[in-house]
């Protein structure tokens, strides 16, 4: 037993959805309150907020002080961490580093995103700020349009049939059906996928995760600092890695390889001392189904151009070889921007604690979670382990 292990002592989340009547700070507070209670009342010394768009959508920056104040933690170290869609993963990594370094004993990580403070083109314009503004956004590019080009290229190069990527949405929705915090709690049929409206060809409505409101929080501490009588099965952070790629997709030698994703998975697994075959579940960043396919390939679960087949043949199902999106993923749980990476950690911890109910992966020991900013322009991977 290593007393300096970093333990996820508390987890909290709000349901994901369109919370028109809940403000940014209230969302954040609900998750914080739940996580601190779950930790047995640990008192955080530092707060790391993962958020992507609040200055734009809610005209609110300075979320560190805002949430610390609103949560009754006035005085603690507090700051926002931003890395587009990977903001949640980035906040988790900052919390991990702070506690691991010894400078902070108890860190609170909260991811929060409030999309419904804006609508329609206002949201698209805000999301486009995560691109290379001078060379991508200025062309009128949207995230969905870029993902569509990526998916089209992938399907052409690897002879993928028209509904070849359907398995990702079907798996996500099947798993979201029994997650009470998921935005969509309904399984879908292949036929529904096949008939779905095109958003940006070949991306249809089910190839794209919904923007949603939500907040999730984690309390991190070292094993030796856990409160007496701490009752949850211990989940430790066994690996943590972050990397960046060229921001503009067109600057990459091979757009169909998520290079940053690969580097961080390798590092995180190495720190955990395991190989990818030992991973019990993978919470990938399926903002688009093509991202899921490319992430599986980057992580080593499939060869180049073959990732989609894992979704088609059931390998990513709850009972499959490498279960993915086990509580719905971004597609069915919803994609609350900068909160998403923290939701992944909360869900993985739930699995490793053995508290995932109908979605429980039997004997889950290692969970790989990966938070992406854009098409893996930032990738942040963590390995969580059920500690003895």
């Amino acid at each position: 037993m290593i007393m300096t292990d970093i333990i996820i002592a508390g987890i909290g989340q709000t349901p994901v959805g369109e919370h028109w009547d809940i403000s940014l700070r209230e969302l954040g507070f609900k998750a914080i309150e739940a996580a601190i209670a779950d930790s047995g009342g640990l008192r955080p010394q530092a707060l790391f907020v993962g958020n992507m768009l609040a200055p734009n959508l809610s005209r609110q920056a300075h979320l560190g002080a805002l949430l610390a104040d609103f949560a009754g933690l006035t005085g603690v170290e507090a700051a926002t961490v931003e890395a587009a869609g990977a903001s949640g993963g980035a906040a988790l990594r900052q919390g991990y580093l702070a506690v691991k370094s010894g400078f902070v004993d108890v860190a609170l990580v909260v991811g929060v995103e409030k999309f419904t403070d804006a609508i329609g083109s206002g949201v698209e314009a805000a999301l486009a700020t995560t691109f290379d503004s001078d060379f991508e956004a200025v062309q009128g590019m949207t995230l969905a349009a870029q993902a569509a080009m990526l998916m089209r290229r992938y399907m052409r190069e690897f002879d993928v049939p028209a509904d070849g990527l359907s398995g990702f949405a079907l798996t996500a929705h099947a798993n979201g059906a029994s997650n009470k915090n998921a935005m969509f709690q309904k399984a879908i049929k292949l036929e529904t996928y096949q008939k779905a409206e095109m958003i940006s060809e070949p991306i249809n409505m089910f190839d794209i995760a919904p923007n949603a409101d939500g907040a999730a929080a984690l309390v991190l501490t070292r094993r030796g600092l856990l409160p007496i009588g701490f009752s949850h099965p211990l989940v430790r952070i066994a690996g943590s890695a972050s990397a960046s790629d060229r921001l503009a997709l067109h600057d990459r030698r091979d757009p169909l390889t998520f290079h940053a994703s690969r580097i961080t998975v390798e590092k995180a697994l190495e720190q955990a001392g395991i190989s990818f075959e030992q991973v019990s579940l993978f919470e990938y960043h399926d903002a688009y189904s093509i991202y899921a396919a490319l992430s599986l390939e980057a992580a080593g679960f499939a060869r180049r151009g073959q990732g989609w087949k894992l979704a088609q043949d059931g390998a990513i199902a709850l009972t499959g070889k490498i279960p993915c999106a086990t509580l719905g993923g971004l597609k069915a749980r919803g994609n609350p921007g900068g909160a998403t990476g923290v939701y992944q950690a909360v869900e993985a911890a739930t699995q490793l604690r053995g508290q995932a109910g109908a979605n429980q992966i039997a004997g889950a020991r290692y969970a790989l979670i990966q938070s992406l900013g854009g098409p893996a322009s930032t990738a942040i991977s963590h390995v969580l382990e059920r500690a003895e």
Partner: protein, 361 residues
């Protein structure tokens, strides 16, 4: 127990003197634009999920003034009263032809209700007409007037290509409120639920409204209608089963069907008043013309729940009971379904001409 000299704020609105509807009349213009025609132009004909079948479009010479006069004349025919006895002519609309100068004075003049009358235009998005109806109940119920007229009428605006363009339609209805003993339907009580909820708006000088997309649903339409209806029914000790019919504001086909289900009303109970699939969303006229169509088929003793919704936002709920007088009076003029059957289909090009959507200079 002391009797307060006014109603406490959290009770139903009930006038001192019982009142009711002594006359009602509908109007729907002749032209129809099928929703698939809008889809043909704007979405390449994608047919799935159209919000309605078709909508009513006003002709070149029609506006809220002319249409209000048509409905008012129908109401006068059913009421059979001397127009000089009308002490108020109030018109609620989102499409008053003038920004300054009332619609209601023109309507009052046309039906012979001037000069001893109140006249004003009401604005509260799609519940402007029912707000005028609440005021008319107050005016008559306080004995300040024997009769008062409330109209909800619109030539609704929808930006070309916007989701609203499929449904934004023309039509509405006029009601004459008078003493309960003269009424074809008694208005037992009403209740209004209002908050500042900016789900849909059009600023001065803007041609088309803007809206908050799905924000117009749960926090706006559904919340206000259900709160108003529930309070009215709970205060009355009634449930959906006590009403023969229900009429709810109808911006599209799904919303009123869903809100009816939430409140415990069956599809049969809302069927006569659910006109949106065939005439569209007539904004301030929408719930009121649903009520005229329901009165056209109701029987004495039937109880009707009417709930409007106006963006911004609020709902007015009314508990209405039909009397014996309805059977005779409703035959005195044209019925709502007669207007719906009077139908000339137009294409999108004709529609944009009729609605002045082509900028000539």
């Amino acid at each position: 127990m002391t009797i307060p000299d006014h109603q406490p704020s959290q009770t139903l609105l009930k006038p001192t003197k019982p009142v009711g509807i002594v006359g009602y009349g509908a109007y729907v213009p002749r032209y129809r634009l099928p929703a698939k025609e809008v889809a043909r132009v704007w979405t390449g004909g994608r047919a799935g999920g159209l919000p309605i079948e078709e909508k009513a479009v006003p002709g070149l010479d029609e506006d809220v003034v002319t249409m209000s006069i048509e409905a008012a004349r129908n109401a006068m025919k059913r009421a059979g009263i001397d127009p000089a006895e009308l002490r108020a002519v109030w018109v609620g609309s989102e499409s008053h032809p003038y920004a300054v100068k009332p619609t209601s004075t023109i309507v009052a003049e046309a039906i012979g209700a001037v000069p001893n009358t109140q006249a004003a235009d009401w604005e509260f998005a799609c519940k402007a007409g029912t707000e005028a109806l609440v005021a008319a109940i107050g005016l008559v119920g306080s004995n300040m007037a024997h009769y008062a007229m409330a109209i909800g009428m619109d030539t609704a605006q929808g930006k070309p290509g916007d989701a609203l363009e499929y449904t934004a339609a023309a039509g509405g209805a006029a009601y004459i409120v008078g003493p309960a003993e003269e009424s074809l339907a008694v208005i037992e009580a009403s209740y209004s639920y209002v908050t500042d909820t900016p789900d849909f708006w059009r600023r001065e000088g803007q041609k088309y409204p803007e809206h908050g997309q799905r924000f117009t649903g749960e926090p706006a339409y559904f919340k206000h209608i259900t709160e108003a209806a529930k309070f009215l029914m709970e205060s009355n000790g009634t449930t959906a089963k006590d009403y023969k019919w229900g009429v709810f504001h109808q911006p599209n086909t799904k919303f009123p069907q869903r809100v009816a289900g939430i409140l415990g009303f069956s599809p049969e109970q809302i069927a006569p008043g659910l006109l949106v699939p065939v005439i569209g969303n007539t904004y301030a006229g929408s719930s009121l013309i649903g009520l005229t169509a329901t009165l056209d088929v109701a029987e004495p003793g039937d109880r009707i729940l009417l709930v409007s919704f106006g963006s911004g936002a609020g709902s007015d709920a009314f508990d209405i009971r039909v009397t014996e007088k309805l059977l005779e009076r409703r035959e005195l003029t044209v019925k709502t379904q007669d207007y719906i059957a009077r139908r000339t289909e137009i294409d999108y090009a004709t529609y944009v001409r009729y609605r002045g959507k082509i900028a000539m200079r």
